[in-house]
């Protein structure tokens, strides 16, 4: 989509033009549904969270400065909406993080290499299989580039818990990859 076309759509969205809203939805969906999928456990959940985020986008579209980075702005909204959703879903869970989280670093290279060899859809599927918070920390840290300190601020998690969850996520991913390889080898 050309930038001037996007700006025109955004302007019309401010006037609550339903056709423009649909166009913006389709454009944003195409670009950002992957983000929603990384933070949820299923495609349906991802669509639900994405729609919630889009509601916020439409509601706050007047605050968006046209001409700036729309996808960045809406991606932020989507990530925050996803985190809110995870918080709601897990508000009664108490996760006790182990004091020693040093094991996190050990498998870093191996896992990344292993993930690089897999198809995107497969990685997405594995990420979605992770527990809610593990998935959230993994996506924030590994894919979206947040630091643990930022994740702690954003999610309300303890710094060590964030690290531990990341380690747990990686460990689980490794196990998934291992099982996948076993299945492949057995075939």
């Amino acid at each position: 989509m050309e930038i001037h076309e996007l700006n025109d759509i955004l302007s019309r969205c401010i006037r609550q033009d339903r056709l423009a809203q649909e166009k913006l939805y389709n454009y944003t969906y195409q670009k950002l549904i992957g983000t929603a999928m990384r933070y949820t456990k299923s495609r349906e959940d991802a669509k639900w969270v994405f729609n919630l985020a889009m509601m916020k986008v439409y509601k706050n579209i007047e605050k968006f400065k046209i001409g700036t980075n729309y996808l960045g702005w809406s991606n932020d909204i989507l990530i925050k909406t996803s985190i809110d959703n995870i918080r709601k879903n897990t508000r009664h869970q108490r996760i006790m993080a182990p004091v020693d989280s040093s094991f996190v670093e050990g498998n870093k290279v191996t896992l990344n290499e292993a993930l690089d060899t897999l198809a995107t859809e497969k990685i997405m599927e594995m990420v979605q299989r992770l527990g809610e918070k593990e998935r959230m920390v993994f996506s924030l840290y590994v894919v979206d580039g947040y630091k643990h300190k930022e994740i702690a601020e954003l999610t309300g998690l303890n710094l060590n818990t964030s690290k531990w969850l990341l380690g747990k996520a990686k460990k689980e991913l490794k196990e998934m990859i291992g099982r996948l390889n076993e299945i492949r080898l057995s075939k």
């Binding site: 939805y25 195409q30 670009k31 549904i33 709601k88 879903n89 299989r129 196990e175």
Partner: protein
């Protein structure tokens, strides 16, 4: 086998939306807009009701302050045609001489009429309502004969307590004109075909109605020393019924029923549908009304009732859940008694008409009917799991359960019919008991309660709250 940096690939993951995706989004937007409009809708309803009350109040006040005696013009439109002329027979023993041929007598009479107007705006402390009726003079012999002893007569004075006419009205109120105090003739003299207006406050025999004035279209014929009045048209009579305003305050109890209905969705997780804990639920409220009651027994009232409705939907969930984390699957057993308590506030403005009959000196029975809309407002609901007031969570705290309630229909109309038993207390105040049957057109509430797992609906049940049923009210009239 290397496919590239998985981070970038995840970040740039792209997928085309399907048509149904936008449809769902559009529905969300519609709901959001509807929600935005809702406050305006309620404000509009509130303003309309306020205006209605103000107009109604103003109308009552206007009626009270309206001149009681209207100009007695010759209004042919209100005259029923086909009335046969009936001559008024001369009767010497009832003959009344015209006592005052003096022109000043006319002025006195006119003044008297004005006094009459002023004095009769209230009767026994009650306001008079004008009601125009036509009546047929049954017997001319009942009508007083006027004897004229002066060709230049300018006024006629009729001796009080002489019956003039008797009539039977369409509404079967029998009355007789039993007393006439003053009358005014045309100042120009009684000549052929001239209209003579006579105003007469008349007491009704049964005390229900009071004739305040009537006018006679008379043909004046001279026969020597006598004047005979012939009714050439149907007389028009204005009846003034007494009526008074009142305020009523009361408590009301009704017993709506909650029923599970149209459970079309297949339970995914829980096999049992939600069932109401109690079939019949007490709905208690207060009622305020403002009305007007006529001495005939008829009453008309506008008011509003507000009531509180609380009901519980409950089910036991027994299910085996598969909790997946990674490739590992843990089987969890769920066995929870869950329920949802819905609370509503119902605002019911109404128009009510009633009719009472006296049975004893201070007691009466009556019938009444009322119609009006019901506006149902949501109050905070509660989800109960066992004894805790938390969302349902499984033993490993992996799953979070919650409820959501979609109310499909909340606004409806109702009619109410019943009987009244009343007793006068403390002067003009009355205490009444009402036994009635309420009929709701549409359900009082119709909704769907969903059990959600991780905010996704896993089981939906439809329910209806039916407002039909018996009602009881205790009211006090001021």
């Amino acid at each position: 086998m290397k496919q590239g940096d998985f981070r970038e690939r995840l970040k740039n993951y792209s997928e085309e939306p399907s048509d149904s995706d936008w449809t769902k989004m559009a529905q969300l937007l519609d709901m959001s807009e509807k929600k935005k409009r809702r406050p305006f809708f309620w404000k509009f309803i509130g303003a309309a009701m306020l205006i209605g009350v103000l107009i109604g109040g103003a109308l009552f006040i206007k009626i009270e302050k309206a001149p009681v005696i209207l100009p007695q013009n010759d209004n042919k439109k209100s005259v029923v045609t086909g009335f046969s002329e009936s001559n008024i027979a001369n009767k010497a023993n009832n003959a009344i001489p015209l006592t005052d041929p003096n022109p000043s007598a006319l002025n006195n009479n006119i003044d008297s009429d004005n006094e009459l107007k002023d004095n009769d705006e209230e009767l026994n402390g009650k306001n008079l309502i004008e009601k125009t009726e036509s009546f047929e003079v049954k017997k001319s012999s009942n009508t007083q004969e006027f004897i004229k002893n002066n060709r230049e007569n300018k006024s006629i004075e009729i001796i009080p307590s002489i019956p003039l006419a008797k009539a039977n009205f369409g509404n079967n109120i029998n009355f007789s004109i039993s007393k006439v105090t003053k009358a005014a003739a045309n100042p120009k003299g009684l000549i052929n075909s001239e209209v003579v207006a006579i105003k007469a406050p008349v007491l009704n025999l049964n005390g229900l109605s009071t004739i305040k004035s009537y006018k006679l279209f008379v043909l004046n014929e001279r026969a020597e020393e006598k004047l005979t009045l012939n009714f050439s048209e149907k007389p028009e009579v204005k009846i003034y019924e007494t009526a008074s305003n009142y305020f009523s305050v009361g408590i009301a109890a009704s017993f709506p029923k909650v029923i599970a209905a149209d459970n079309t969705s297949e339970p995914i997780l829980a096999k049992q549908n939600f069932v109401p804990i109690q079939n019949t639920i007490p709905n208690l409220g207060i009622e305020l009304g403002f009305g007007r009651k006529w001495d005939s027994g008829f009453s008309l009232e506008i008011g509003a009732r507000t009531s509180y409705l609380q009901y519980r939907l409950s089910k036991v969930i027994k299910a085996k859940l598969a909790e997946s984390s990674g490739l590992f699957v843990d089987e969890l057993t769920l066995n929870e008694d869950v329920s949802r308590i819905n609370r509503n506030l119902i605002l019911s403005p109404y128009i009510r008409a009633g009719y009472d009959w006296k049975v004893f000196k201070n007691s009466f029975v009556g019938i009444f009917g009322a119609i009006g809309p019901n506006f149902v407002f949501d109050l905070p609901s509660s989800d109960l799991v066992g004894l805790s007031n938390l969302d349902l969570t499984t033993s490993n705290e992996a799953d979070s359960f919650s409820f959501s309630d979609i109310t499909e229909s909340k606004n409806n109309y109702e009619a109410e019919f019943g009987i009244t038993l009343g007793q006068k207390v403390l002067g003009t105040s009355q205490m009444t008991m009402h036994f009635s049957y309420g009929l709701t057109f549409g359900n009082l509430v119709k909704g769907t309660v969903s059990l959600n797992r991780d905010f996704q609906s896993i089981n939906s049940d439809n329910y209806e709250v039916n407002g039909n049923g018996l009602r009881f009210k205790l009211r006090y009239y001021l």
